[in-house]
């Protein structure tokens, strides 16, 4: 059940999502996007590139944050999503996806939200803003 425009209040939190980011999920994303590179698929290959181990592609974080917004606003509601990749997202760890409503545009019936992906320790690794159109 998607949220209705009338029911949204600035400052509302989106329902947070917590997930264990499995290595195989990251590899599946890398395979599906034709980015099956060592940095996204195996620790040794990633270390040869100076990374601490395999990492999730930035685009995967973008996709997970899009999912956070649409789980709340409904499929097809997302109009815009901008992200800044600040830290490495490592698999085999729990991550949280969170968001907060920052603005309602009554004329356009759109909602602006701040979104972020954080580590289990609460470090914000990916920051973003999104626009969703609601019924």
């Amino acid at each position: 059940m998607s949220v209705r425009f009338e029911d949204v209040v600035e400052g509302d939190d989106l329902p947070a999502q917590e997930l264990f980011l499995a290595r195989d999920q990251v590899r599946a994303y890398a395979r599906a996007t034709d980015m099956y590179f060592p940095r996204f698929t195996d620790d040794e290959g990633a270390r040869r590139e100076g990374l601490p181990g395999m990492i999730a592609p930035g685009n995967m974080s973008l996709g997970l944050l899009a999912g956070l917004v649409e789980a709340w606003a409904g499929p097809g509601a997302l109009c815009r999503l901008g992200t800044t990749f600040r830290g490495l997202v490592l698999p085999d760890r729990t991550i949280r996806l969170r968001g907060t409503v920052t603005e309602k545009d009554e004329a356009r019936r759109t909602i602006e939200v701040d979104v972020w992906l954080e580590s289990d320790e609460g470090e914000r690794l990916v920051l973003g803003t999104a626009t969703a159109r609601l019924d």
Partner: protein, 144 residues
Amino acid sequence: MPLDLDPATLGEEFDRAVYGPVTADELVAFARALGAPSCYTEPGPDLVAHPTFCVSYRGHKFFPDNLPPSLRSRMSFDAGKDVELGAPIRPGDTVTVVSTLHDVYEKTGRSGTMVFVVVRFTLTNQRGERVATVDNRLMYRGER
């Protein structure tokens, strides 16, 4: 304009790539890897691409040939993406990706001066509808 970049370079098309026809299988594989809901993972007449499927298109070359040599030789980092969504991608679609150098700017932070290069992908489908505009922000650290 940092790096003595010719302003005429901005907005100039440097690559054009055509992808497709899009298959249901590739849309489903992408969406499943993100744990997306059934509207993005169940093959059928209503299947559309996950909204961020559009960022999986990267064109034939990522940078224009006339990017300043001081940047071409250095490693860049993916600093972020800005995606404006248009018509959804559906199975059978053909997607054209036009690449332009959108912006180049410098920022100084605690770790020194950084140069940001923004490469814009404009995606359209076979009906001429805008599918998405994707701004890819690449960051270069340190000295020029």
